[in-house]
Symmetry: none
Subunit: 193 residues, 4 copies
């Protein structure tokens, strides 16, 4: 219980919080539950995080960082815009599937400012990433001559709705592939002469 136990305890707390926040939301989660999940005392949690907010914010930050890293990874060697879009979407959905806690990103019960800002900045960044891809596609003539900003918003909202729906425990979800396909080709029949 000494050596590098400090870091391991911190991690245990963090991962317990994740579960509890995911299951109960920010307001609904309580410190006793988190402490129990981490097998430490309540007071101990406060040795590592000075309040509930900080715990929450730390999680938020680490999710954002990881999703960011994965996305960068996924896009690294792709040049084709359609392919890049597919990679972006798939990465996001797969990540969300693994991290139900990410709901919180969508969650409404953040009364505090810092979390909101962080989050909004993150989302803005992701949207502009999509926008870049679309712009490139339009430039190369692969995508139709749409407004890249609007297209990015549509794609972004679509992903977000997907994640929210998934998080709410509602069964019906499209497969990433089918989704990408539809976004690329649209609903209307291509005129095959």
């Amino acid at each position: 219980m000494n050596e590098r136990s400090r870091e391991s305890t911190r991690q245990r707390i963090l991962s317990a919080s994740q579960k509890v926040f995911a299951e109960h939301g920010y307001t609904g989660a309580n410190m006793r539950l988190i402490a129990q999940g981490a097998a430490v005392s309540v007071g101990c949690v406060y040795l590592y995080f000075k309040c509930k907010d900080e715990l929450y914010l730390t999680l938020l930050e680490s999710w954002m960082n990881e999703l960011d890293a994965r996305t960068t990874d996924a896009l690294e060697n792709i040049v084709e815009p359609a392919e890049a879009l597919a990679a972006f979407i798939t990465t996001g959905i797969v990540y969300a599937r693994e991290h139900k806690e990410m709901v919180l990103l969508q969650g409404r019960d953040l009364g505090f400012a810092r979390g909101l800002e962080m989050k909004q900045q993150f989302l803005r960044k992701r949207r502009s990433l999509i926008e870049d891809i679309v712009r490139k596609g339009v430039a190369t003539g692969i995508f139709c001559d749409c407004d890249p900003g609007e297209a990015a918003k549509l794609i972004f909202c679509s992903m977000r709705g997907f994640i929210v729906t998934m998080m709410m425990g509602e069964e019906a979800l499209y497969s990433p592939e089918a989704g990408v396909e539809l976004l690329l080709n649209g609903l209307l029949r291509r005129d095959t002469p």
Copy 2:
């Protein structure tokens, strides 16, 4: 002190709740705030709604009913599937714009069963409405040969994401028209011979 009519007080409470729930979420909202917003005493709220749940559920139900009615109206005289889709989406988004409170439909912190059920049933119904439209479009050959279920999910999630994004106070949102256009035609350039 009590010249106000029963119905008017009820309405004032309802509309105050709407604001408070929208701003703080279910768990975060508190009866004192709601009462203050309605300019009545806390006890008075309980004269009209027997508990917080009932207040919430009443709001939820009325939103769902109104959105339902509006959607039915909008689709009444439309036969063309693409047009119907556009009408469905536009109605939903316009409604959400007017009723920020609808976030709650997306909300995470409903611990109680009845609200969740009601909500899920409502969402299911709406999704199946989209599915019907898509199916018809595929049948008539206007839409491409996609899986109507999957397409409905995409469209549905897309709308939902849109609403969530809007609710979170984030600025960037696509215009319904541009969105519909993209969903219909897809991102990829149509091959112009």
Copy 3:
């Protein structure tokens, strides 16, 4: 709703209170329930009784008066002490059977002084009535040479316990006659030569 309605409304309120107090106890009873039972508005109750206490006290007083009257009646023409005792006990038990509300006489949740005093005085009076009977029986040599005070207490407590038990809804109760018989003759076998 005019003529002599005043008195009739008062009576309706009183009799509704009786039921409600009997069923819920003093603290547990609430004015809305009483008003409903009397088919008047809550405010109307306050037109007749200035507060919950007064309502309660009024009932208490009327029970005591009635029991008092009945007891006096029952004892009027009896000279024989054993017979008088039997009459006293039987009257009390019969009355209690008809007036479940009388529990309240036994009830614990009277936080206010006036009721308590009234009640204690009433009980003291009844006990001294028994004592007189016993004293006379001892004087005439019909009763054994016991301390009349102690005997009165025993008899009094016995009746009281009977009533409490009855009120608590517990099934098993002795019949007044068997009880009187036992009190008179004792448990021990009489030596029959």
Copy 4:
């Protein structure tokens, strides 16, 4: 602020509750009063007892257990029925004298089921204990040929009334010995030829 040991705090809370319940009854007692009596915060009470009911039930149970144990002890080496009866009654009355809180056993304001059941079962058990004693006395010919059930009820109610009277703070009570004597011999003079 927290040097007090867990068990000692629990005991302090329990004994404060005893006083408060005894003085105000179940409904009338409130957690603030109990906490104050135990010199802890309200929240602290809930660290030890998860609700008001549990606090009450804990007390109820411990009284019943102790009175049970004492009664068993007292009767252990007695074979003579008259003596056994005297021991039973005396034990009960002495116990009640030491534990004014026992009123609660008589209390009317238990809205919750478990407490009532527990209590009624306890009382039934005690009554049947008396019945056994009486039956034995009748069988051996020491007691007169009465119905043991009825006699048990009388004795039981008598004790109960005694306790209630005592609890209500009313001064006058028979001494256990005089009471037993009367129950055994009856009021009527034994015919000494």
